[in-house]
Symmetry: C2
Subunit: 156 residues, 2 copies
Amino acid sequence: MAKTLGKESTCSIARSLEAVGDTWTLLIIREAMLTGATRFQEFREALGVAPNILSKRLEKIVEDGLMERRTYREPGSRPRDEYVLTESGRALTLVIGALADWGRVYRPRQDGTSPCFAGEKTGGIARLGFVTADGDFAQPAELVAQRTPDAQLTTP
Amino acid sequence: MAKTLGKESTCSIARSLEAVGDTWTLLIIREAMLTGATRFQEFREALGVAPNILSKRLEKIVEDGLMERRTYREPGSRPRDEYVLTESGRALTLVIGALADWGRVYRPRQDGTSPCFAGEKTGGIARLGFVTADGDFAQPAELVAQRTPDAQLTTP
């Protein structure tokens, strides 16, 4: 039987989940993306997460290369760590956006909020979805999935 | 402090994670999407997951409305349950696709595989990404996220 969990899996989804198959991890990444939070205290206050859990998650996030640990020092204080998204951490935008879109539609709330992604230079809103060769958005129900060797796939 | 976890959160990402912030749950959904698996034994064999864990996850998946439990009976056997993706379960295509794309790029493996999503009628490959108003794909690094009231957002 093929190994189905973790780093050694041939399935790219399982390998991703090894890094981000955890609610707190994704909420920490979300917070960094949406509010620019970088400091332990900022994450703790925004998420209401217990310090020991936050420590462990940040440790694993750094190990997994999603954030980089840097040192900062404010006048009169001892040096402290801050946590900055790396390229691979920022690339989770797609995962965060997909989770937001699903929650917005299937777990609606009148006072709900979601991230809205806009071009850094243009300010224009970007929409997330599956796009056909014709440039049209396809609904999930119109798609079938097939397991394909990664060598045959490319990223937009 | 706002409730940041689970069903009551105002954040759509947190509400999604209440249903799918779990590795086994997402691997079960993946298996159903990619191979059409519906039966306990099929999930158990494909994922190598312990029966008690699989039972609990399927229970929660049904409670959360991602799959529907149906009864089937093979000649000479007692009735058994099978699990079929609902509309909201199928709509996780975006989340599954985003996880696959991230894993393919940031956890590459020579023998890696990912789902490839194609139009059910057309057979044409659909690509997942953020699309600007001009119809171009935008890279995550070119985007900034901003928390926005859901009432102002629409789905493609």
